[in-house]
Subunit: 210 residues, 2 copies
């Protein structure tokens, strides 16, 4: 498959949604779908869908539409979901435990370690993985190849943990701490800022009322 | 304060970030800040900052910059953080419990109920709130004024819960289920789609490697 560069973040952010909808069509034994039909389900315009997918290759066929199984599998491969990513979670509080228990296997998540500073949590097992002392994080990173680090520690400790992950060779960080992390160029960070999400909700809710 | 309409979602989504940075400046006893200094901290350009804030009023003063306390308080009020929002969480699994334990009080969150279908969870208390049977959700909504419903149930049940919340008079929905909910016009929904977030991370991580 030919690779196209400079794809906008807006398009990239829509890919997982295509993946999800196509996965549901597959489950319902739908073989093919036109951009118009897909548009009615997913809520983007048909022309937007064609444009988005054209960024990555020549998928549809005029008069036939998209082959659902093929497009789903192509998007999986574009997203990189067909590989495995060794992942550790740092911070085994509520969010950390929720992430550990969540089934992200579809995204290639291979959870291999959980770390926390709280002696009450160290030694407990979540999905068969023992929570380790955060003091052992650096040596763990030295001895294991880790692709993704999930930061679920309080905001005051987040940058320190981030620095250790970067130094330990982690390539991507999924950050749940309410801070913007400083990372070297080329490092991938995806933030989930729950407070910002709920503030947006509250703002929109107030607009409707006035 | 004069209200301006038709503010883009992109600007709205940046407001919580301004709020967070200004809150930190306040904590560090910073009285005033220029758009240039704020730009260096927050990572938006100074002109972007001036443009964003101008959507909501006339805050800065040429040669003085922004009064940190005043701007922070104005943004709080624009976001609607100075009010209280009666909130219930439906689904007391990992994510639901994490949200219940998280401190969203700053966003005006007033957690008044948690619901689940699992008999093992019903009756347990989280932050002094007893988990109630989801079968009692409708009557609870009838007897209580609820502003925000947080949906943390599995995706197959999400639409049903959403319909009950809408019918029960809830005004805003914070949705953690990996589905796009159908809601009547005028209903506010803010999605946190964790699978999509991690897929974006995985995609970007793969781009870096090639």
């Amino acid at each position: 498959m030919e690779k196209k560069k400079n794809i906008s973040m807006a398009v990239i952010k829509r890919l997982p949604k295509y993946h999800r909808y196509l996965g549901e069509l597959l489950k319902n034994d739908v073989d093919r779908i036109s951009s118009k039909e897909l548009s009615e389900k997913i809520g983007f315009t048909a022309s937007q869908i064609r444009q988005d997918l054209n960024c990555f290759g020549d998928f549809g066929q005029q008069g036939y539409g998209y082959n659902v199984r093929e497009l789903h599998s192509q998007i999986s491969s574009i997203l990189g979901l067909n590989k495995k990513y060794n992942t550790i979670i740092v911070g085994a509080g509520n969010i950390g435990q929720a992430i550990a228990n969540y089934r992200f296997d579809k995204a290639g998540f291979n959870l291999v370690g959980i770390f926390d500073a709280n002696p009450k949590l160290i030694g407990i097992r979540i999905r068969d993985i023992e929570i380790q002392d955060i003091d052992d994080l650096q040596s763990f990173l030295k001895n294991n190849h880790i692709d993704i680090g999930v930061i679920c520690v309080p905001k005051l400790n987040a940058q320190k943990v981030c620095d250790e992950l970067v130094q330990g060779g982690v390539k991507g960080i999924w950050n749940f701490a309410p801070v913007d992390l400083n990372v070297p160029e080329g490092m991938t960070v995806e933030n989930v800022h729950l407070s910002e999400s709920v503030m947006t909700l509250v703002y929109l809710l107030n607009q409707k009322e006035e």
